[in-house]
Amino acid sequence: MKASNFVLSSVLLAASSGCRGTVDNPGGPGVNPNGAAGAAGGGTGLTGGGGSPSPDAVCSPATAPRVWRLSDEQFSNAVSDLFPGITVPAVVTPGRTKGELLNVAERYPVDGALASSVRTSAEAVAADAVKDLPGLLKCQAGQADAACVGAFVDRFVPRAFRRPLDATERAALLALYTAGAKTASADGVRLLIDAVLQSPSFLYRTELGTAVVSGKPTALTPYELATNLSFLVLDSLPDVELWSKAQDGSIAQPQVFTQQAARLLQTPRGRDNLSAIFLKWLGLGAGITTELDATVYPEYDDSLRQSMLGESTRFISGLVEQNGTLADLMTSRKTFVDGRLATIYGVPYPAGSTGFVPTTLPSERAGILTQAGVLVGKSRGHEIVIRGKFVRRDLFCQNIPSPPPTVNIMQFDGSGTERQQSAKRVSDSVCGACHSLMDPLGVTFEKFDALARYKPTAADGTPVDSTGQLTGTDVDGPVASPVELAARLGLSATARACVSQNMLAYALGRELTPADQCEQARVATQVEALGSHLPDLIAAIVRSPTFATRTGGQ
């Protein structure tokens, strides 16, 4: 597989041709980098020609200077880091899907509902934090209140704001303290904390750089760089060591930066966060939310959902910890089951065991594709379409456009088996263009029911037909099961590039555009060069100059 191919297919944009006539296009569906939809144009030079981009290619930054608001989870994490042990009421951004992979920087401005949500949380945390005022302020013996609070401000606020305080801000905060402290010192400190946690300087990460010269890339400040690194790897504020490297500016030195990135990735929090990112990618960021018909699946209750999520979490965490590869993610048969999952998977569960135990899966299962959490998560509505779309869109990064204006869905009356309905969709001249990309992948899961149980025969005793076809990828061919599909995914450079593409979008807080082609290709090549281990995905991204620079802006 040449790098040029996976670059091509991983930068697919839905072009004006939609899915039509793309089935036999080796580049994949909708390939048209110069199509009308490509706002920034496709000609960044990596789609033609060939040859692998160097892992150390210097790509121009494609992200403009910006502010990027903390996600709801990052707010909680950051406040918890500032006030360990204090419960942080969750903040909810209206419109954002809980557990969504991306925290899109240009979406979700603060509205009345969100401001209220932040205020409620900040007030509760502030009230809690001052309950042990001496413990919080750590005043020295004989130190005056004002001096002690000043020291607290100098310790707490720069860390919260992820930058030094200026004199105006410091004075304003101390004035706020003084106003509140008229009744009690704790009231003053409470107001101060309340205000800091609601301040834009806390709520938004800045990526403004050192000096913006129009048209010229600007390097992030050491504080911004450290902040970006910590939010990518820890989903929170810089830890103590990283913070010290920001304060003395040494984080801007490539060697120090690389060392800090490597260190953070190895921390338990760094590993947990990487696992969490994978769960989000698989649609499990908010747990398993699929609703199933209780009359058909009476055993599908909250504890079973927890079991399923528990397995996925343990499986991915295990791979992260053992430096597993993307192929392992797809094909590994070693996972963990508790009693209820053992029943679903048909594997032994040792008598006397409690909780999760390691197990080796039977031959019909492998990797994430047959995991209960993933399968149930993709068991909504018409499963063949949902599961096929998941593979095509999330695992191969090939877009499926919305139904075209000419679509006539009235011809599909819902009669027949799911497989028969699917055949009708695929053979239709309009619908087939897209459904032929989804359904032939979705049908390979047909031997698994909505609860992820293996059911190779139908109720009438006939064998279930799960034969499908992989097209438009670098690993095309017939596939008849998720295991066969997983084997191909494990070999697919396109699929590996897709994971790194998702990770890059996550790291940048936006979907990728044609302007990101250089960086996308560089990261993918870097990941390959490093061996495609899960932590390599982050390592490849943070190595990039584009991670540390922004465009010249306007």
């Binding site: 839905a14 009345g112 107001l191 834009p200 509505g381 018409h382 456009p401 919305s402 139904p403």
Partner: protein, 452 residues
């Protein structure tokens, strides 16, 4: 001991204090005048045409007939209790449908005609994986809030709410669960957690006690610092980033406006509703119920005069408990052409709306009439049935003080009429004469006989 505003509020408890309310303290200038309000319900992915179609009524501009002589269909028979206050508007179509049927449908209804549809609609924020439909104009609610003097005054200019926001969106695509777009066509996503909305609306309402005064002083001091911080950051931002902070500042100002509400009202504030997990079908009824109570209270206290409410996203995943055959969720069921469950789902939503209408009728407004008389309610679906766009269900309720008569069925079938013609009529009722709304090619002016 310090009493924060919030703890003060919590301490009030159920029915222990008659409270305040901004309402009509501010209305010293117009004692006995009630505000006019608009509540818009979007009922996604409904219904079944044959079962919605009323019989009888008046064919406007055609065969005529008595508007008051009509019978409901099985899908809307549950509206019966609200019949005295209702006008069924029959025979409206959606035009120029393309792209995703639901995503385009809701945007077309709310913003009037033109959208960027289908494959060209790639949301610049959604990148290569997000597809859908983009509006090019603000939604009617935001235009009215901007232009209608009758809707100005309350601290919260408009509220966007939803009973469920789940959708099978493209990643990063939010347009399936948005029905309001501001004047810059920025999506205004709905709040879907009633307890949080309750806190937002009502936690600043309290008596004029000393504790309350202190709490207000504290909130003001904190707010001053936050605004100062916002301004300092604003100065450092490139122009394209400033709208983020403009919006943020708007949110802070909204809060600020609620802080100066005078303390006076005869409304007793209930305790906050219990926390119920959002986006869970089993909770759908309770979530709607909690929101309806919040809306009633917000109207009574005149905290807002404009509410847009999505029962669910334009790709409804809701399973209404007790309706057989709906187990895939409403939108997937529409793909299955399952007549009975879709009819029952529509009837279910009609039932909850009818109950709210009757409740609003029973609440006395400031002018001595009922809250319903001063509140116009619109309910619509973007589809006539399945994914078809002819004969979309539309019903208007209440609003007698705005010129809407109840107990009627008006028919406009085959005249090329759309929801835009309803909106222009409503706009006139709110004192903003409008001949066309949205794309002029897709509307013909206010529906005759609807108002007045």
């Amino acid at each position: 001991m310090h009493v924060s505003r919030r703890s003060f509020f919590r301490g009030v408890g159920a029915g222990t204090a008659a409270i305040f309310g901004g309402t009509f303290a501010r209305q010293a200038f117009g004692q006995g005048v009630a505000p006019k309000r608009l509540l818009v319900f979007y009922m996604p992915n409904s219904s079944i045409r044959a079962n919605w179609a009323p019989t009888g009524g008046r064919v406007v501009g055609g065969a005529g007939g008595d508007a008051t002589q009509f019978s409901f269909g099985t899908a809307n028979s549950t509206l019966m209790p609200a019949k005295p206050y209702l006008t069924l508007v029959d025979g409206l179509d959606q035009k120029n449908i393309g792209g995703d049927p639901h995503g385009s449908g809701i945007i077309r209804v709310m913003t009037g005609g033109t959208i960027i549809a289908g494959e060209k609609a790639k949301d610049p924020m959604a990148g290569s994986l997000g597809m859908g439909n983009l509006p090019v104009r603000p939604s009617i609610d935001q235009i009215l809030v901007d232009q209608s003097a009758a809707l100005k005054g309350p601290p919260i200019f408009s509220l966007q709410l939803a009973g469920d926001t789940r959708a099978d969106n493209g990643r990063s695509d939010i347009h399936m669960h948005v029905m309001s777009y501001d004047l810059k066509v920025t999506p205004l996503p709905p709040d879907a957690e009633p307890t949080k909305t309750f806190t937002r609306l009502f936690s600043n309402i309290m008596g004029s006690s000393q504790a309350a005064s202190k709490a207000i002083a504290e909130e003001t001091s904190v707010l001053d610092f936050i605004k100062g911080d916002l301004n300092r950051l604003y100065q450092r931002l490139p122009a394209d980033q400033r709208p983020k902070l403009d919006s943020h500042l708007g949110a802070l100002r909204e809060f600020e406006r609620t802080l100066v509400l005078p303390a006076q009202s005869n409304v007793t504030l209930p305790p906050p509703p219990p926390v119920v997990a959002p986006n869970v079908s089993a909770n759908h009824q309770q979530l709607l119920r909690q929101y309806f109570d919040i809306i009633k209270l917000a109207f009574q206290l005149d905290l807002t005069r404009m509410v847009t409410f999505m029962f669910a996203s334009a790709n409804s995943q809701v399973v209404i408990p007790g309706i057989a055959g709906l187990n895939k969720g409403i939108h997937p069921t529409a793909h299955d052409y399952a007549v009975a469950p879709l009819t029952q789902a529509t009837a279910w939503y009609c039932d909850v709306v009818a109950k709210l209408v009757v409740e609003l009728q029973a609440i006395k407004d400031l002018d001595g009439s009922s809250l319903l008389d001063n509140t116009l309610i619109v309910m619509f679906s973007e589809t006539g049935q399945y994914h078809e766009f002819a004969n979309i269900p539309v019903a208007l309720f209440g609003g007698s003080k705005l010129g809407l008569k109840g107990g009627r069925c008006l028919r406009y079938t085959g005249q090329g009429r759309t929801m835009a013609d309803v909106w222009t009529g409503i706009s006139g009722a709110f004192g903003v004469p409008m001949t066309t709304f949205g794309d002029a090619a897709y509307n013909m002016g206010p529906l005759p006989e609807l108002f007045g």
